[in-house]
Protein backbone atom coordinates (compact mmCIF):
# COMPACT_ATOMS: atom_id res chain seq x y z
CA UNK A 1 0.00 0.00 0.00
CA UNK A 2 1.45 3.35 -1.02
CA UNK A 3 1.31 6.38 1.28
CA UNK A 4 -1.21 7.99 -1.05
CA UNK A 5 -3.63 5.05 -1.00
CA UNK A 6 -6.68 5.87 1.06
CA UNK A 7 -7.35 3.86 4.22
CA UNK A 8 -11.06 3.36 3.63
CA UNK A 9 -11.49 1.13 6.63
CA UNK A 10 -10.25 3.78 9.05
CA UNK A 11 -12.07 6.59 7.25
CA UNK A 12 -15.32 4.64 7.35
CA UNK A 13 -14.84 3.70 10.98
CA UNK A 14 -14.45 7.35 11.97
CA UNK A 15 -17.36 8.41 9.74
CA UNK A 16 -19.77 5.92 11.35
CA UNK A 17 -18.55 6.84 14.84
CA UNK A 18 -19.26 10.48 14.03
CA UNK A 19 -22.83 9.44 13.20
CA UNK A 20 -23.14 7.89 16.64
CA UNK A 21 -22.64 4.25 15.78
CA UNK A 22 -20.72 2.52 18.55
CA UNK A 23 -20.05 -0.92 17.10
CA UNK A 24 -17.39 -0.68 14.44
CA UNK A 25 -18.15 -2.65 11.31
CA UNK A 26 -16.08 -5.78 10.95
CA UNK A 27 -15.01 -6.19 7.37
CA UNK A 28 -14.90 -9.61 5.81
CA UNK A 29 -11.57 -11.31 6.29
CA UNK A 30 -10.46 -14.76 5.20
CA UNK A 31 -7.23 -16.48 6.11
CA UNK A 32 -7.75 -19.00 3.32
CA UNK A 33 -8.62 -17.70 -0.15
CA UNK A 34 -9.98 -20.17 -2.72
CA UNK A 35 -8.26 -20.04 -6.08
CA UNK A 36 -9.60 -21.49 -9.31
CA UNK A 37 -7.23 -21.82 -12.23
CA UNK A 38 -8.62 -21.29 -15.73
CA UNK A 39 -9.08 -24.38 -17.88
CA UNK A 40 -9.67 -22.55 -21.15
CA UNK A 41 -7.67 -20.02 -23.05
CA UNK A 42 -9.00 -16.50 -22.67
CA UNK A 43 -10.13 -16.36 -26.27
CA UNK A 44 -12.28 -19.43 -25.61
CA UNK A 45 -13.74 -18.14 -22.36
CA UNK A 46 -17.14 -16.70 -21.61
CA UNK A 47 -17.05 -13.69 -19.30
CA UNK A 48 -19.73 -12.25 -17.08
CA UNK A 49 -19.97 -9.35 -14.63
CA UNK A 50 -21.21 -9.13 -11.05
CA UNK A 51 -22.08 -5.67 -9.81
CA UNK A 52 -23.44 -4.12 -6.62
CA UNK A 53 -25.45 -1.66 -8.69
CA UNK A 54 -29.10 -2.57 -9.06
CA UNK A 55 -31.52 -2.33 -11.99
CA UNK A 56 -33.03 1.11 -12.15
CA UNK A 57 -36.61 0.34 -11.26
CA UNK A 58 -38.19 1.18 -7.92
CA UNK A 59 -38.96 -2.42 -7.02
CA UNK A 60 -35.30 -3.29 -7.07
CA UNK A 61 -34.46 -0.39 -4.82
CA UNK A 62 -36.89 -1.24 -2.06
CA UNK A 63 -36.47 -4.98 -2.09
CA UNK A 64 -32.93 -5.76 -3.04
CA UNK A 65 -32.32 -9.28 -4.28
CA UNK A 66 -29.85 -10.98 -6.57
CA UNK A 67 -31.03 -10.07 -10.06
CA UNK A 68 -29.91 -11.31 -13.46
CA UNK A 69 -30.12 -8.71 -16.23
CA UNK A 70 -29.68 -9.32 -19.98
CA UNK A 71 -26.50 -7.76 -21.37
CA UNK A 72 -28.37 -6.90 -24.57
CA UNK A 73 -29.55 -4.31 -24.95
CA UNK A 74 -26.97 -2.78 -22.57
CA UNK A 75 -28.57 -0.94 -19.64
CA UNK A 76 -28.86 2.80 -20.02
CA UNK A 77 -28.83 3.34 -16.29
CA UNK A 78 -28.41 1.45 -13.06
CA UNK A 79 -29.29 2.44 -9.54
CA UNK A 80 -26.24 3.29 -7.46
CA UNK A 81 -27.45 6.05 -5.11
CA UNK A 82 -27.60 3.68 -2.15
CA UNK A 83 -23.93 2.77 -2.45
CA UNK A 84 -20.98 4.48 -0.82
CA UNK A 85 -19.08 5.62 -3.87
CA UNK A 86 -17.48 9.06 -3.85
CA UNK A 87 -20.40 11.32 -4.69
CA UNK A 88 -18.35 14.49 -4.24
CA UNK A 89 -15.67 13.67 -6.77
CA UNK A 90 -17.26 11.59 -9.48
CA UNK A 91 -20.49 10.14 -10.84
CA UNK A 92 -21.90 6.87 -12.13
CA UNK A 93 -23.77 8.16 -15.14
CA UNK A 94 -21.19 6.60 -17.47
CA UNK A 95 -21.95 2.91 -17.14
CA UNK A 96 -18.68 1.55 -18.60
CA UNK A 97 -16.90 3.25 -15.69
CA UNK A 98 -18.27 0.59 -13.34
CA UNK A 99 -20.08 -2.04 -15.44
CA UNK A 100 -17.69 -3.17 -18.18
CA UNK A 101 -20.12 -4.60 -20.73
CA UNK A 102 -18.97 -2.19 -23.46
CA UNK A 103 -15.36 -3.16 -22.81
CA UNK A 104 -16.14 -6.87 -22.90
CA UNK A 105 -18.03 -6.48 -26.15
CA UNK A 106 -15.02 -4.74 -27.67
CA UNK A 107 -12.72 -7.50 -26.45
CA UNK A 108 -15.04 -10.17 -27.79
CA UNK A 109 -15.17 -8.48 -31.20
CA UNK A 110 -11.38 -8.31 -31.19
CA UNK A 111 -11.13 -12.03 -30.38
CA UNK A 112 -9.52 -11.43 -26.98
CA UNK A 113 -12.30 -13.21 -25.11
CA UNK A 114 -14.55 -15.95 -26.45
CA UNK A 115 -17.93 -14.50 -25.57
CA UNK A 116 -19.95 -12.41 -23.19
CA UNK A 117 -22.46 -14.22 -20.97
CA UNK A 118 -26.08 -13.45 -21.88
CA UNK A 119 -26.66 -11.87 -18.47
CA UNK A 120 -24.84 -9.94 -15.78
CA UNK A 121 -25.80 -10.13 -12.12
CA UNK A 122 -26.70 -7.53 -9.56
CA UNK A 123 -25.97 -8.45 -5.95
CA UNK A 124 -27.27 -6.39 -3.01
CA UNK A 125 -24.67 -4.77 -0.79
CA UNK A 126 -25.28 -6.40 2.53
CA UNK A 127 -24.04 -5.71 6.04
CA UNK A 128 -24.68 -9.32 6.94
CA UNK A 129 -21.73 -11.30 5.69
CA UNK A 130 -23.68 -14.44 6.53
CA UNK A 131 -26.39 -13.46 4.02
CA UNK A 132 -23.80 -12.74 1.37
CA UNK A 133 -22.00 -16.04 1.92
CA UNK A 134 -24.99 -18.32 2.49
CA UNK A 135 -27.62 -16.76 0.22
CA UNK A 136 -26.33 -14.34 -2.38
CA UNK A 137 -23.03 -15.93 -3.39
CA UNK A 138 -24.50 -19.40 -4.07
CA UNK A 139 -27.25 -17.79 -6.12
CA UNK A 140 -24.73 -15.82 -8.16
CA UNK A 141 -22.67 -18.96 -8.74
CA UNK A 142 -25.77 -20.86 -9.88
CA UNK A 143 -26.54 -18.08 -12.37
CA UNK A 144 -22.97 -18.12 -13.65
CA UNK A 145 -23.26 -21.85 -14.25
CA UNK A 146 -26.67 -21.51 -15.94
CA UNK A 147 -25.10 -19.01 -18.33
CA UNK A 148 -21.96 -21.14 -18.74
CA UNK A 149 -19.66 -18.36 -17.66
CA UNK A 150 -15.98 -19.26 -17.24
CA UNK A 151 -14.83 -15.96 -15.76
CA UNK A 152 -16.64 -13.46 -13.57
CA UNK A 153 -15.48 -9.88 -13.17
CA UNK A 154 -16.66 -8.65 -9.78
CA UNK A 155 -17.00 -4.89 -9.63
CA UNK A 156 -18.11 -3.57 -6.24
CA UNK A 157 -19.12 0.07 -5.81
Amino acid sequence: MADSDISYMERTRQYYRAQGYTDDYRWAHFESVPFTRPVKALDQSRVTVVTTAMPGDAASRSDREVTAVPVAPPPRRLYTDHLSWDKDNTHTRDIPSFLPLWQLAQLRDAGIIGSLAPRFYCVPTEYSQRTTIDTDAPEILALCRQDQADIALLVPL
Binding site: S4, D5, I6, Y8, M9, R11, T12, A18, Q19, G20, Y21, W27, A28, H29, F30, S32, V33, P34, F35, T36, R37, P38, L42, S45, V47, S62, D63, R64, H82, L83, S84, W85, D86, K87, D88, N89, T90, H91, S97, F98, L99, W102, Q103, Q106, I113, T125, E126, Y127, S128, L141, C144, A149, D150, I151, A152, L153, L154, V155, P156, L157
Partner: protein
Protein backbone atom coordinates in the same frame (compact mmCIF):
# COMPACT_ATOMS: atom_id res chain seq x y z
CA UNK B 1 -15.33 -20.04 -11.10
CA UNK B 2 -12.41 -17.87 -12.09
CA UNK B 3 -12.88 -14.40 -10.67
CA UNK B 4 -11.16 -11.04 -10.88
CA UNK B 5 -12.19 -8.10 -8.74
CA UNK B 6 -11.92 -4.59 -10.14
CA UNK B 7 -12.03 -2.02 -7.37
CA UNK B 8 -10.68 1.10 -5.75
CA UNK B 9 -10.77 0.30 -2.03
CA UNK B 10 -7.36 -1.30 -1.77
CA UNK B 11 -7.30 -1.90 1.98
CA UNK B 12 -10.80 -3.39 2.16
CA UNK B 13 -10.28 -5.85 -0.68
CA UNK B 14 -6.79 -6.91 0.45
CA UNK B 15 -8.01 -7.31 4.03
CA UNK B 16 -10.79 -9.57 2.79
CA UNK B 17 -8.46 -11.75 0.74
CA UNK B 18 -9.46 -12.42 -2.87
CA UNK B 19 -7.99 -14.48 -5.72
CA UNK B 20 -7.18 -11.65 -8.15
CA UNK B 21 -7.62 -7.91 -7.69
CA UNK B 22 -7.03 -5.12 -10.17
CA UNK B 23 -6.79 -1.89 -8.20
CA UNK B 24 -7.56 1.46 -9.77
CA UNK B 25 -6.40 4.34 -7.61
CA UNK B 26 -9.52 6.39 -8.28
CA UNK B 27 -12.36 7.82 -6.21
CA UNK B 28 -14.78 5.06 -5.36
CA UNK B 29 -17.34 4.52 -8.11
CA UNK B 30 -15.33 4.15 -11.30
CA UNK B 31 -13.08 1.11 -10.90
CA UNK B 32 -13.30 0.36 -14.64
CA UNK B 33 -12.01 3.77 -15.67
CA UNK B 34 -12.81 7.46 -15.59
CA UNK B 35 -16.22 8.40 -16.97
CA UNK B 36 -15.96 9.02 -20.68
CA UNK B 37 -12.39 7.77 -21.07
CA UNK B 38 -13.00 4.82 -23.35
CA UNK B 39 -9.37 3.94 -24.10
CA UNK B 40 -8.63 3.86 -20.37
CA UNK B 41 -11.73 1.81 -19.65
CA UNK B 42 -10.78 -0.73 -22.29
CA UNK B 43 -7.19 -0.95 -21.04
CA UNK B 44 -8.28 -1.51 -17.44
CA UNK B 45 -10.60 -4.37 -18.30
CA UNK B 46 -8.02 -5.90 -20.59
CA UNK B 47 -5.48 -5.72 -17.76
CA UNK B 48 -7.98 -7.34 -15.37
CA UNK B 49 -8.52 -10.21 -17.79
CA UNK B 50 -4.78 -10.70 -18.20
CA UNK B 51 -4.74 -11.63 -14.52
CA UNK B 52 -6.73 -14.77 -15.33
CA UNK B 53 -3.70 -16.53 -16.80
CA UNK B 54 -1.11 -14.20 -15.34
CA UNK B 55 -1.63 -15.12 -11.70
CA UNK B 56 -0.99 -18.51 -10.12
CA UNK B 57 -1.60 -17.76 -6.45
CA UNK B 58 -4.41 -15.96 -4.61
CA UNK B 59 -4.15 -12.52 -2.98
CA UNK B 60 -2.63 -11.05 -6.10
CA UNK B 61 -3.06 -7.30 -6.55
CA UNK B 62 -2.12 -5.48 -9.71
CA UNK B 63 -2.39 -1.72 -10.13
CA UNK B 64 -3.95 -0.08 -13.15
CA UNK B 65 -1.35 2.37 -14.52
CA UNK B 66 -3.60 5.44 -14.49
CA UNK B 67 -3.98 8.48 -12.26
CA UNK B 68 -7.28 10.16 -11.62
CA UNK B 69 -6.04 13.72 -11.87
CA UNK B 70 -3.02 15.89 -11.24
CA UNK B 71 -4.85 17.38 -8.30
CA UNK B 72 -4.96 15.00 -5.36
CA UNK B 73 -7.56 16.94 -3.38
CA UNK B 74 -10.11 14.18 -3.88
CA UNK B 75 -8.15 11.90 -1.56
CA UNK B 76 -8.91 13.96 1.55
CA UNK B 77 -12.59 14.45 0.83
CA UNK B 78 -14.07 10.97 1.17
CA UNK B 79 -15.86 10.36 4.48
CA UNK B 80 -14.29 13.49 5.90
CA UNK B 81 -15.03 14.20 9.55
CA UNK B 82 -14.10 17.54 11.04
CA UNK B 83 -15.59 20.35 13.09
CA UNK B 84 -17.46 21.64 10.05
CA UNK B 85 -19.64 18.56 9.72
CA UNK B 86 -19.53 16.75 13.04
CA UNK B 87 -22.92 17.97 14.26
CA UNK B 88 -24.56 17.27 10.93
CA UNK B 89 -23.18 13.74 10.95
CA UNK B 90 -24.56 13.12 14.42
CA UNK B 91 -28.01 14.24 13.24
CA UNK B 92 -27.67 12.09 10.15
CA UNK B 93 -26.88 9.07 12.28
CA UNK B 94 -29.92 9.66 14.45
CA UNK B 95 -32.11 9.87 11.38
CA UNK B 96 -30.61 6.70 9.94
CA UNK B 97 -31.22 4.76 13.15
CA UNK B 98 -34.87 5.81 13.04
CA UNK B 99 -35.09 4.70 9.42
CA UNK B 100 -33.46 1.39 10.21
CA UNK B 101 -35.87 0.81 13.09
CA UNK B 102 -38.79 1.59 10.80
CA UNK B 103 -37.45 -0.77 8.17
CA UNK B 104 -37.12 -3.58 10.71
CA UNK B 105 -40.63 -2.93 11.99
CA UNK B 106 -41.89 -3.08 8.41
CA UNK B 107 -40.24 -6.45 8.00
CA UNK B 108 -37.65 -5.43 5.40
CA UNK B 109 -35.26 -8.32 5.18
CA UNK B 110 -32.25 -6.33 4.11
CA UNK B 111 -31.15 -3.32 6.14
CA UNK B 112 -31.01 -0.05 4.20
CA UNK B 113 -27.44 0.99 3.52
CA UNK B 114 -25.95 3.74 5.62
CA UNK B 115 -24.88 6.69 3.50
Amino acid sequence: MVTVILGSALDIVEYCGVPRFLYSDFPLGNPCGKPGYRDMQLAIVRQALSMVHGIDQPRATWRAPFTWSENDAWRAAYARVDDSNRDALQRKGEQRRRQQADARAAGQRRAPMID
